[in-house]
């Protein structure tokens, strides 16, 4: 017995290597192939089942939420008599009905239902369960609520004034920034702001909870984080973890919005299911979803940057102030990631970052693709553009000059490759990647063409920008970087996979199907998935931080190798040969002179009482992070990319068009190029929306102060097909991960989002083309016109009229072309 275990361990690596070699040339090699999404045929035929599509159990009740109409205040009276009397109403849930009404992913400061204190406009104050969805929604409108209105804090500036924080301010100081700044030959001070962003997953939040026997509860939930839902439901009810199971087959989009934010709705459905004894479904109407769930944090920045005559940055002080909303939620880690991405791809030498986590009377902001990374990078790209403008240089040259040293080149002298949080970068490819893109998109020649176009075009102006992305991969908090998988091989040779990751469209299941089919060298159709379920694989991490395939792919692979090893030993015994002569290929297993189909061998193994299922576990190696001083190696590796974007703006209206975008992006060795390109394109367009048309607007004063005006797609505008760049070239950079990730691939979910910074930079370039007389700083440096994000038509026009030193208010009319 001991002998056999020992043999197993030794054999695993050998078999894995041997198998790799044979399988990569086999017909059933799926790694690196553009295989269609595992659910694509279901998506297109309407048969992919989302939670609201599942057949309802008899007696299912439907819940709807009653929301506050006051941003900050106390409930003086809540008259629900009309609500109780409304048709179909079966139950009303109030704060006092909840055993433990404090929710929240890290700090339990989110009430599931507001008790007395109202913290934002649209906060849940009661919930109704009725026979039908329509009845529940009709009933919640009948509440009569009186408030004692308190002064709300609605903006970052107001919060800073009032020193209103969800978490204390954080300072990270590296390499004596103030001293280096004082000694810099050139300095620029500036400020900018970037808005938040609504996730606008097409499927809104939905949870469906029902009791099973003996105080156990099963919840179907559209969530990226089933385990956290399990924990938070248990907390709310006073249950223990083995009483609650969470199931998620797929989400209709997540983007970070279903990481912590699904908890409130899952808890409410669970509480009502327990209270009524009936199955309860809570599906938020779109408007309720937009008003009552968190978004990307908007940020405001102030900085002071020092640089030399060539444009090389020698020091930076920057204040990052984020609007966290009324509670902490994930704001701590989001702001930490912003701090860690202030450098983007640039060696900053000396940095002091002051990070403010502002508490306001708005919905609590949360994770959103990039998780603070985009907001961290936004100002440095803005600053680099400012420096180039001040010195009359092409921004691309200033970027190239400031990049971290490329790993493994003669440039890599080792003095410009450590980040401000203490990580030594060992995989930098940005200089080569950016140069390759600049070449392929003809950047230099187009720069000249655009300059001459702008001279001859008085109404329409063009702009061009090429911006890089360096994005750290891993959860900042080391503990989350673990995953499990459970793989069953049935006696007919088919395989069922379960793992801790969730499918939100990103193709996680598809990639893992490829990984599993590859390990056994069996057809893809022989591998299926059960829904992600906390009763199958426990203690899962959120499917977030782009880490889904990295973590769960490795865990699934480990489970496959365990099973395959047992099968190989069994086959070698049958064929009386050494296990190193066993080979899995094209659905067959070869051992010495003998061979069987995979199914035949599996069936024999079953008869011989060989274990045909196994679990796998993975934890990311080599990472460490000291959260107290924000120092260490939080990221296993970095993903890189760059985008060059050309835009046109209409100087009469401020409207814009993206004319062309070229992207070169690093996914290491791609497991599935089509899926990776899908992530790159989709991420880019979503980022473009964040920086252009997607504007969150809260009413600033009056009785509706704090009300989200942009509470529906009628007023909140995500990009449409017409907004896609007229020319859109996307290529994968030829690379492999220097770290031992699953098939040497790299994570791709979030990094491409930040490629859209090229759109904003190009728009600002086009705005600057309207400058006729330079504005100089006190030091005589040229000042690049400011532009606020999102660059809506109004913000673009405002910037143009600021250049003309005119108010947008049309008091003056100049001569026309």
């Amino acid at each position: 017995m001991n002998q056999s275990i020992h043999q197993n361990i030794n054999l695993q690596d050998d078999i894995s290597d041997m198998h790799q070699l044979t399988a990569m040339t086999a017909k059933n090699c799926f790694i690196g192939k553009s295989i269609v999404h595992e659910s694509a045929h279901l998506h297109v035929s309407g048969t992919a089942t989302y939670i609201d599509d599942t057949l309802e159990l008899t007696g299912t009740l439907h819940a709807a939420v009653g929301l506050s109409t006051c941003a900050h205040g106390r409930i003086k009276s809540l008259d629900l008599s009309w609500v109780y009397a409304a048709a179909g109403v079966r139950e009303v849930l109030l704060a006092q009905d909840i055993p433990h009404n404090n929710c929240g992913p890290i700090i339990a400061d989110d009430p599931i239902i507001a008790d007395e204190l109202i913290s934002f406009y649209g906060q849940v104050i009661f919930v109704v369960a009725a026979d039908t969805y329509q009845q529940a929604r009709a009933a919640v409108r009948l509440a009569v609520v009186e408030y004692e209105v308190l002064e709300p804090i609605l903006s970052i500036q107001q919060a800073i004034q009032a020193q209103s924080w969800v978490l204390p301010p954080v300072e990270l100081s590296h390499n004596k920034a103030d001293k280096k700044l004082a000694k810099a030959s050139h300095r620029l001070q500036g400020s900018a702001s970037v808005g938040g962003q609504e996730h606008f997953y097409l499927e809104g939040h939905v949870s469906y909870a029902y009791l099973k026997e003996d105080h156990t509860l099963h919840v179907l939930c559209s969530t990226q984080h089933p385990t956290e839902m399990q924990h938070l439901i248990c907390h709310a009810l006073g249950y223990r973890a083995h009483q609650v199971s969470i199931e998620t087959r797929r989400m209709g989009g997540g983007f970070g919005g279903k990481e912590s934010q699904s908890a409130q709705w899952a808890c409410i459905a669970a509480l009502l299911a327990v209270k009524t004894g009936m199955p309860v479904k809570l599906r938020l109407d779109r408007d309720d979803d937009m008003v009552a769930t968190g978004k990307r944090h908007g940020f405001e920045y102030e900085w002071d940057v020092g640089f030399d005559a060539n444009g090389r940055i020698v020091g930076l002080y920057i204040q990052l102030a984020s609007n966290c909303g009324f509670s902490a939620d994930l704001s701590g880690p989001v702001n930490d990631r912003a701090i860690c991405h202030v450098d983007n791809g640039y060696y900053l030498d000396a940095v002091r970052i002051y990070s403010l986590r502002c508490k306001t009377n708005t919905v609590s902001n949360t994770a959103f693709r990039g998780f603070g990374g985009p907001q961290g990078m936004f100002p440095i790209e803005y600053i680099v553009d400012d420096i180039a403008y001040a010195l009359g240089l092409d921004p691309l040259d200033v970027r190239l000059l400031n990049f971290y040293e490329e790993t493994g080149t003669e440039m890599d002298a080792g003095n410009r490759n450590t980040t401000h949080y203490g990580t030594t970068i060992t995989d930098n490819i940005l200089p080569t990647l950016v140069s390759e893109l600049a070449e392929s998109c003809n950047y230099r020649a187009r720069r000249t063409e655009i300059a001459s176009f702008n001279v001859s075009s008085p109404i329409i102006k063009k702009g061009l920008a090429l911006t890089p992305v360096k994005f750290g991969i891993s959860f900042n908090a080391t503990l989350y970087n673990q995953a499990g998988a459970l793989i069953h091989v049935y006696s007919d040779g088919t395989v069922l996979v379960n793992h801790g990751g969730t499918e939100m469209g990103q193709g996680l299941y598809s990639k893992i199907r490829q990984i599993v089919a590859h390990e056994f060298s069996i057809p893809l159709a022989d591998v299926r998935f059960s829904a992600t379920d906390t009763s199958r694989v426990p203690n899962t991490s959120a499917t977030a931080a782009s880490s889904g395939t990295d973590l769960n792919g490795k865990a699934a692979q480990a489970a496959c190798i365990s099973i395959r090893t047992r099968l190989a030993i069994f086959a070698s015994e049958l064929a009386n040969t050494d296990v190193s002569n066993v080979c899995f290929r094209d659905g067959e297993v070869y051992a010495g002179e003998q061979h069987w189909t995979f199914a035949e061998l599996v069936l024999s193994a079953y008869y011989s009482r060989i274990q045909l299922w196994d679990s796998g576990f993975y934890k990311t190696p080599d990472i460490h992070w000291n959260p107290a001083i924000r120092y260490g190696r939080p990221f296993y590796y970095f993903a890189y990319g760059a985008a060059a974007t050309e835009v046109a703006i209409d100087t009469l209206t401020g409207e814009t068009r993206v004319l062309r975008t070229d992207i070169l992006h690093d996914v290491g060795q791609s497991i599935n190029p089509a899926i990776d390109i899908g992530q790159i394109e989709g991420g880019f367009i979503q980022g473009m929306g964040w920086l252009t048309s997607e504007e969150l607007y809260w009413v600033t004063s009056g009785v509706k102060a704090g009300h989200l005006f942009t509470h529906a797609p009628s007023t909140y505008k995500i990009p449409t097909a017409a907004d896609v760049p007229a020319i859109f070239n996307v290529k994968l950079f030829n690379n492999h991960n220097v770290e031992d990730t699953i098939h040497r691939s790299k994570a791709v979910g979030e990094p491409p989002f930040m490629l859209a910074l090229s759109v904003f930079s190009a728009l600002r370039d086009a705005v600057a083309a309207t400058v006729e007389t330079d504005v100089l700083t006190a030091d005589g440096l040229k000042q690049k016109p400011a532009l606020q994000a999102p660059a809506t038509p109004e913000n673009i026009l405002r910037a143009i009229y600021t250049i003309k030193q005119q108010s947008l208010e049309p008091l003056f009319f100049e001569s026309m072309p």
């Binding site: 997953y201 499927e203 008085p458 004319l659």
Partner: protein, 541 residues
């Protein structure tokens, strides 16, 4: 329920063609949506609810209606609409197609019996898909998949309407009512094209035509439900009578606005008179003096005629809502609704359109700008209805005429105007302004003319200094509001700048004017048109 219904009709169930046969639904709640019917009553859950307000397209279905062609043949018109804001009884006499039906077309047109037999026991390898669906799969055009059925339906409507693959711009137009948050759209546009590369499979329309034909003989649809009545008169006389009889009843046209009163505001409509069954109100006819558009002509049909009459309509027609909203919405509905941000009114006003209002048997005509009294208040009497809109042809015999409409919003497609501006000017041989009309949406409580600015320009030379004076005068014409769409000052500025754009474009249109070379692009759409697609390298996964 004891009250008598309209005397001419007995109550009957609504009837429509769905899932291969005629379906009857007995007295549905008049405001029950088609989406609720599909998902909750039929468990046809392929069609999704994304926003319940007609803005995201996840609920897109296709509705088929009988239309008589020029040569008198009955044809099936298939158009995509938003099922989330369409009320179920409005389907009476029509055909409904949801995403579940599309694969059936592929099966029906496939000769292989084997495929047919297998359909109930599908595994990956034998899942039967329509070419549009197959192309979506092969082009990797779905990620989370939630918006996908809606895209499939919009593309299927296009596929049925166009035997050959339309160009990029047209494809994007067909997709203007569908939001996708995952893919970035490129693969969806690719799929639209790739569908035409697969063996063509079209709907066998004759069965549907026959079924709908049989429904045409049905009596007028009237029924009562929980004290609420639904009337769908078929002829104008019945409508006029009902309107007199029930002046408080809600008139319902395309429900692209009224639908939201239900799904978003939970309002009670009371009795409903649906106008969409009155075929005579859909007539678009050209007389010698003007174009008359029936109030119930769809925006799609109305814009098709208006743009062919004058290219000044083109930009607006392209940016007005989305395809599905234009298919369901009506010109009369847009005009009668009287929203300050309704986009059809500024151009209609500057073209001297008149609105025909009918009360009983009496029809009166009103210049459209006199129709709007105040915020959401029109000259429509409680027992009147909008019958049609008459638009005189521009008289360009003696004068040079320029007409244009511009819409400014945060997004190019499917957005509500911050400002919509329309301009119409007649210039004489001396380049003097003989007549000018300018009207704006988004600048006041109603769509409104810029009377001061017009007055300043009248009789003046059409030149930059006149324009500047008019721009100043606009400040006294309008005092717009600030809201989440735009600030007051932005609205004022672009109102002035749009006049400047109109002036500049009139110069480039008018070769007889003595102006220096004006060969520079004036609109962003000019920039897209000049994009050299030969530089596209394509994506090669």
């Amino acid at each position: 329920m004891s009250e008598t219904l309209h005397p001419t009709s007995a109550e009957r169930p609504i009837q429509f063609y769905f899932q291969g046969k005629l379906q009857q639904v007995e007295k549905p709640e008049p405001t029950r949506t088609v989406l609720q019917f599909l998902r909750e009553d039929c468990h046809a859950t392929g069609t999704k609810e994304g926003c319940a307000e007609g803005d995201c397209g996840a609920c897109t279905v296709v509705v088929g209606e009988l239309k008589t062609s020029a040569n008198g043949e009955q044809q099936l018109q298939l158009r995509a609409i938003n099922s989330c804001i369409q009320f179920l009884p409005t389907l009476d006499g029509k055909a409904l197609f949801s995403v579940e039906d599309i694969a059936q077309i592929a099966i029906q047109t496939d000769d292989s019996d084997q495929v047919h037999q297998l359909q109930h026991f599908t595994v990956d390898a034998v899942t039967v898909l329509h070419p549009v669906q197959k192309a979506m799969v092969e082009q990797h055009a779905s990620q989370c998949g939630f918006c996908t059925p809606g895209f499939v339906m919009s593309l299927w409507a296009m596929y049925e309407q166009h035997a050959d693959c339309p160009d990029n711009e047209k494809i994007i137009e067909y997709l203007s009512g569908n939001l996708c948050r995952c893919t970035g759209y490129r693969p969806i546009v690719e799929a639209a094209k790739a569908a035409y590369g697969l063996p063509r499979k079209t709907l066998a329309t004759q069965t549907v035509i026959d079924a709908l034909h049989s429904l045409q003989q049905q009596s007028t649809l009237v029924y009562g439900q929980h004290g609420q009545r639904f009337f769908a008169p078929k002829i104008i006389e019945d409508l006029a009578q009902l309107r007199m009889q029930y002046p408080q009843a809600r008139l319902l046209a395309g429900s692209t606005d009224v639908g939201l009163w239900i799904t978003k505001q939970g309002r009670a409509l009371g009795n409903v008179i649906y106008l969409g069954a009155v075929e005579d109100l859909k007539i678009i006819q050209k007389t010698d003096e003007d174009l008359e558009i029936g109030a119930m002509a769809s925006l799609t049909d109305a814009f098709a005629v208006l743009t062919s009459l004058h290219k000044g309509w083109t930009e607006l027609a392209r940016r007005f809502a989305s395809r599905p909203i234009q298919n369901a919405g009506t010109l009369g509905g847009n005009v009668a609704n009287g929203s300050p941000i309704g986009d059809s009114m500024p151009p209609l006003i500057v073209l001297n359109a008149r609105v025909l209002l009918q009360q009983g048997k009496v029809v009166r005509e009103l210049p459209l700008d006199e129709f709007y009294l105040d915020y959401q208040k029109t000259a429509l009497a409680s027992d009147e209805f909008v019958r049609s809109i008459k638009i005189p042809y521009p008289s360009s015999v003696d004068y040079k005429h320029h007409f244009s409409t511009y819409k400014i919003a945060k997004r190019h497609e499917q957005d509500i105007s911050a400002v919509c501006g329309a301009f119409s000017v007649y210039l004489d041989g001396q380049n003097r302004v003989q007549q000018i009309r300018m009207a704006y949406g988004g600048m006041a409580a109603v769509p409104k003319r810029a009377l001061h600015a017009e007055q300043i320009m009248l009789g003046q030379l059409w030149n930059a200094s006149t324009i500047q004076l008019a721009q100043q005068a606009l400040l006294s014409d309008f005092s717009p509001l600030s809201d989440g769409r735009a600030s007051r000052e932005y609205r004022q500025r672009i109102a002035a700048n749009l006049l400047q754009r109109f002036y500049l474009e009139s110069l480039s249109e008018n070769s007889t004017l003595n102006v220096p070379a004006n060969q520079f692009p004036r609109r962003l759409s000019d920039m897209i048109a000049t994009v050299d697609l030969s530089t596209v390298q394509g994506v090669a996964p």
